[in-house]
């Protein structure tokens, strides 16, 4: 599989680990470090999947997700939200915003890879 994945997270080390993981899976990776640039990147490059962190400066992950889903043209972009918050209400909020999946940090790399594969194969 060779898809385009955008990693949106403000924590540099997490970005490094996600980048490594996605590259290992054979995808092309691009990075955004805050909300606005994430949205811009999505609009610009139309990635197949976005690994979207919730807590980001500028715009929260939820807001980005909402904006993407509001845009018809971006319907093909899958969104996997990542957050340190794992309460049911937050997960529900994520799905309500239109995320395709929600994973809590710290995540298992195996599970994340699994979920990514799942999302990208159901094209």
């Amino acid at each position: 599989m060779n898809k385009r994945v955008l990693i949106a997270d403000d924590e540099p080390n997490i970005v490094i680990s996600l980048e490594f993981l996605m590259k290992r899976e054979g995808h092309a990776v691009s990075v955004a470090r805050d909300g606005p640039s994430a949205l811009e990147a999505i609009r610009g490059t139309r990635p197949d999947l976005v690994l979207l962190d919730v807590m980001m400066p500028g715009m929260s992950g939820f807001e980005v997700c909402q904006a993407v889903r509001a845009d018809e043209a971006l319907a093909g972009v899958k969104i996997l939200m990542l957050s340190a918050k794992g309460r049911d209400t937050d997960i529900a909020k994520g799905s309500a915003m239109g995320a395709d999946a929600y994973m809590t940090k710290p995540f298992s790399t195996k599970e994340l890879a699994e979920k990514v594969r799942e999302l990208l194969s159901a094209a």
Binding site: E11, P12, N13, I14, S17, L21, A84, P106, T109
Partner: protein, 884 residues
């Protein structure tokens, strides 16, 4: 001998006086100056426990078995010792959930079950009837002795006892059923009861003193003479012939202990009529003192009578009358009769009111509602009418029982049979107050079993012994089965019938209660009621709201009108609107709270079980799952009771917690991810591995720094930090701090200069903590100064009041809108891309430290022109609390 008209006239005069007292008290209550809001009145009202049985029965029992009358009064004494906790809990529960009778109490605890309410009412009714008859019998005997006419025999229409019974019924109706008070309080009645407690005590003491010092030379004389006669000498002892004597004494004490709480009249005066919980404290010892006083002369009177008339000369039960009469003291005899009458009327009035309330709320109204639930007829007059009918019926039935069965059986036994009946409430009620596991099924099973065994072992034998049933089943067992003999069940012989009955009935009752309760988990409704009852002291603001559904205001108003009457209903809604601050009744939102309120008011009129049923018919209720109910309970008790400040503090705490967990999870995420990546790829390039490992170490360090700071923060904020205060030289401290951070500044190519006065007074504070603050400010400055050309200035100034330290840097400064934010937890300046290693907690902690010493910290900055963090510390501070 006195003339019958005289006695009757005196009796009615006394009743009128009681009426007057009650009327006066009611008027005072309406004027807002209640006379019963007094611990002594409360205590005296409990004296209703002493009925005509005390006047006649005790003496009779003392005359035949000596001190065996005493456990009936020792039991209540012991019970009152527990009053502080037990009684108060009952009062609190009753007050909070508007419980108006013992049937209501039990039914409410087990999920507002109408079946339980009806069962308890029936048991109470059946149990109390003989006791009422006993009072009438006592009056009849008294009349006989006093006047020579035979009260209690002859055609019923000429039986003065009947007229006294009717008079009592009228009196009770007049004072118990004037209006429907949703709290079921009867101020007039309580005042009258307290008054008559005084009357009967004084009368009894008068007789006692007369017998001791009028007929003999003091109690010593009586005892000496009794000891001289072999027939009487045993009466001062325990007469321990039976090997079960100990058990019997114990059983009697236990029985009395339970009865003093569970007799409907006791529950009424102790719980329902209680005005102030704190009165219980006085009653704890004052009521036993009353009991002691009234029993002081029982044994002397009994012995004196036996000595005077000889054994078998006269009926011991009427010694209080026959002794004065036989010695020419007619007035005293009349006084004694009035005392006995007083005791009897007190019991009858309170008992009748209590029982009629139960019958109305828990037997009749539910039936009526089931039959006519669709009709919108006005039922507001019905509860009162029902009560009146029940009171009259109760007295008439009591009279009937007395005529039919009262002769054959001594007074003594009848009273104890009633005690044993109400004792059956004990497992369900006491269990319900302290054990959350008690279920409705358990209570039902226990009550049914207890009642059944009571009937079998006590009631039926007593009827048989009065000649109304073939005695065969008593001696040989039913159908000849010896094991089922009512007074030697399963072969247990040697016990007197009361102890025997008590043993079996309570054993079965309690046993089944526990066993059946444990057999199945409580339902959602039962569990919540259990919580409300058992934990009543832990919950504050009243009963929470359980309704979740919709109702229409008009329907609620109709309902209220139907059961309370038009005017009370209007008042109810008007009050509610006013308290909610609404312009008018139409504005009231028919929400759960209103529904709850209306239901509570209705419960006062028709009982809580019926009220709930009736409300259910108009409210579209959404079924509540147990978790919902528990959540509502939680919300209701916590949120409503706490003030808004506490609420917002809670929110702050939650924010902090979620920030902390978020901050902790972030480094953990990297650590885990890198570790897994390295594990899953054994072939990873060494360089890559080294990079990752380096990052892992870095994040681990970050994590532990964070944890330490969070702990620090928590300790300081909660006041648990340790402060070691000392005399500090600020100059020296600043120099130390600068030296410590010298390396960091050198690396960034920055210069630090220090400005301070010549001499500085010493400051009393914690050196390490202040050093922490300085290091924090300096390292922040180091992070933000431009590389190569950074300049940091540390300025110390002092004045009479305080010392001020400034740390100014020439970095980018802080934008105005962020200047407050930097002091908040987990906020960091700068942008994320080049955020220096930090936790975001340094400044908040520093500020806390400074504020702990009575100072303050602030930021002055213009964007582009650097930032200056400053703090001041007063020389002397008002310490709220020192941790040192």
């Amino acid at each position: 001998m006195l003339s019958a008209p005289l006695v009757l006239a005196a009796s009615f005069a006394y009743l009128l006086m009681l009426f007057g007292v009650a009327h006066w008290a009611d008027r005072r209550a309406r004027a807002g100056r209640s006379v019963i809001g007094n611990a002594w009145v409360y205590t005296l009202s409990m004296g209703v426990y002493c009925t005509a049985w005390t006047y006649f029965g005790s003496i009779g029992r003392a005359a035949s078995s000596g001190l065996w009358f005493l456990p009936i009064y020792l039991g209540p004494t012991l019970a009152m010792l527990l009053a502080g906790s037990l009684l108060r809990k009952m009062i609190r529960i009753a007050r909070t959930y508007r419980i108006t009778s013992i049937a209501d109490f039990i039914a409410s605890r087990y999920g507002k079950s109408r079946t339980l309410a009806a069962l308890v009412t029936l048991i109470a009714l059946v149990g109390i009837l003989p006791y009422v008859a006993l009072q009438l019998k006592a009056i009849a005997s008294g009349l006989t002795v006093l006047t020579g006419t035979h009260g209690g025999s002859g055609p019923w229409w000429s039986d003065s006892t009947l007229y006294i019974a009717l008079a009592l019924a009228g009196f009770t109706v007049a004072f118990g059923t004037r209006h429907l008070d949703t709290s079921e309080r009867h101020e007039g009645m309580v005042a009258a009861i307290a008054f008559e407690s005084v009357v009967k005590l004084l009368a009894f003491l008068a007789i006692g003193m007369f017998v001791c010092w009028g007929l003999f030379d003091g109690p010593g004389d009586i005892f000496a003479r009794a000891a001289a006669q072999p027939a009487l000498s045993g009466l001062s002892g325990l007469g321990g012939e039976s090997k079960f004597a100990g058990g019997q004494w114990f059983a009697l004490t236990l029985l009395a202990m339970l009865s003093v709480i569970f007799l409907p009249r006791q529950f009424q005066v102790m719980v329902v009529e209680n005005v102030d919980e704190r009165h219980v404290q006085r009653a704890t010892w004052a009521f036993p003192a009353y009991l002691l006083l009234i029993n002081l002369f029982v044994l002397p009177i009994a012995l004196g009578g036996l000595l005077h008339f000889g054994v078998g000369g006269a009926d011991p039960e009427t010694f209080v009358l026959s002794l004065p009469l036989a010695n020419g003291q007619s007035l005293l005899a009349l006084v004694a009769f009035i005392g006995g009458l007083s005791a009897a009327t007190g019991m009858v009035i309170v008992e009748a009111i209590a029982v009629s309330t139960m019958v109305s709320n828990d037997l009749v109204m539910p039936l009526l509602l089931r039959l006519r639930h669709r009709a919108s007829s006005d039922l507001s007059g019905v509860p009162l009418a029902v009560r009146r009918v029940v009171i009259v019926a109760l007295l008439l039935l009591g009279y009937l029982y007395f005529r039919v069965a009262g002769e054959a059986y001594a007074l003594v036994s009848i009273g104890l049979i009633s005690f044993a009946a109400v004792a059956q409430f004990a497992p369900a009620l006491l269990g319900g107050m302290y054990w959350k596991g008690g279920t409705r099924a358990g209570a039902l099973a226990g009550l049914l079993a207890g009642f059944a065994l009571w009937s079998w072992t006590l009631l039926l034998p007593s009827i048989a012994k009065s000649g109304w049933l073939a005695i065969g089943f008593l001696t040989d067992g039913p159908f000849g089965i010896a094991l089922l003999r009512p007074e030697q069940l399963l072969g247990l012989s040697g016990l007197d019938s009361l102890t025997h009955a008590l043993l079996w009935s309570l054993l079965a009752n309690a046993g089944l209660y526990v066993a059946v309760s444990l057999a199945r988990a409580p339902s959602a409704r039962e569990a919540t009621q259990a919580l409300l009852f058992v934990d009543v002291f832990q919950r504050s603001a009243g009963a929470p709201v359980f309704w979740r559904g919709r109702a229409r205001l008009a329907e609620l108003q109709q309902l209220a009108t139907r059961f309370l009457g038009a005017e009370p209903a209007q008042r109810l809604f008007a009050d509610y609107a006013r308290r909610a601050g609404l312009a008018g009744v139409e504005r009231i939102a028919p929400d759960a709270q209103l529904v709850q309120h209306v239901e509570t008011q209705l419960a006062g009129a028709i009982g809580s079980a019926s009220a709930r049923a009736v409300m259910a018919s108009v409210v579209e209720e959404e079924p509540l799952a147990p978790e919902d109910i528990l959540r509502m309970l939680d919300e209701a008790s916590q949120v409503r009771a706490l003030n808004r400040q506490l609420e917002s503090l809670d929110r702050l705490k939650d924010d902090f917690m979620s920030s902390v967990t978020h901050e902790l999870r972030t480094p953990l995420t990297s650590i885990r991810a890198f570790a897994e990546l390295m594990r899953d790829d054994p072939e990873m390039a060494t360089e890559q591995r080294q990079q990752f490992l380096g990052l892992v170490v870095g994040e681990a360090e970050r994590l532990s720094r964070l944890v330490n700071q969070v702990l620090d923060m928590a300790k300081i904020e909660s006041g648990h930090a340790e402060w070691r205060n000392d005399q500090i030289d600020l100059c020296e401290l600043i120099a130390h701090a600068v030296q410590t951070t010298a390396e960091v500044f050198r690396e960034r190519g920055a210069v630090v200069s220090v400005q301070q006065p010549e001499s500085v007074p010493t400051l009393h504070a914690d050196r390490d903590r202040l050093l922490q603050v300085l290091l924090n400010l300096l390292s922040n400055a180091a992070k933000f100064v431009p590389a190569g050309s950074g300049r940091v200035e540390v300025r110390l100034t002092v004045d009479a009041r305080a010392a001020q330290v400034e740390v100014a840097d020439n970095g980018p400064g802080v934008p105005v809108d962020q200047q407050q934010l930097v002091f908040e937890k987990f906020r960091q300046g700068g942008d994320a891309a080049n955020r220096p290693q930090g936790t975001g907690l340094g400044l908040p902690i520093s500020r806390q430290i400074v504020e702990h010493f009575g100072g303050r910290m602030w930021l002055r900055s213009e964007p582009g022109r650097g930032a200056c963090f400053a703090f001041e510390l007063p020389w002397t501070r008002q310490q709220e609390e020192t941790g040192a």
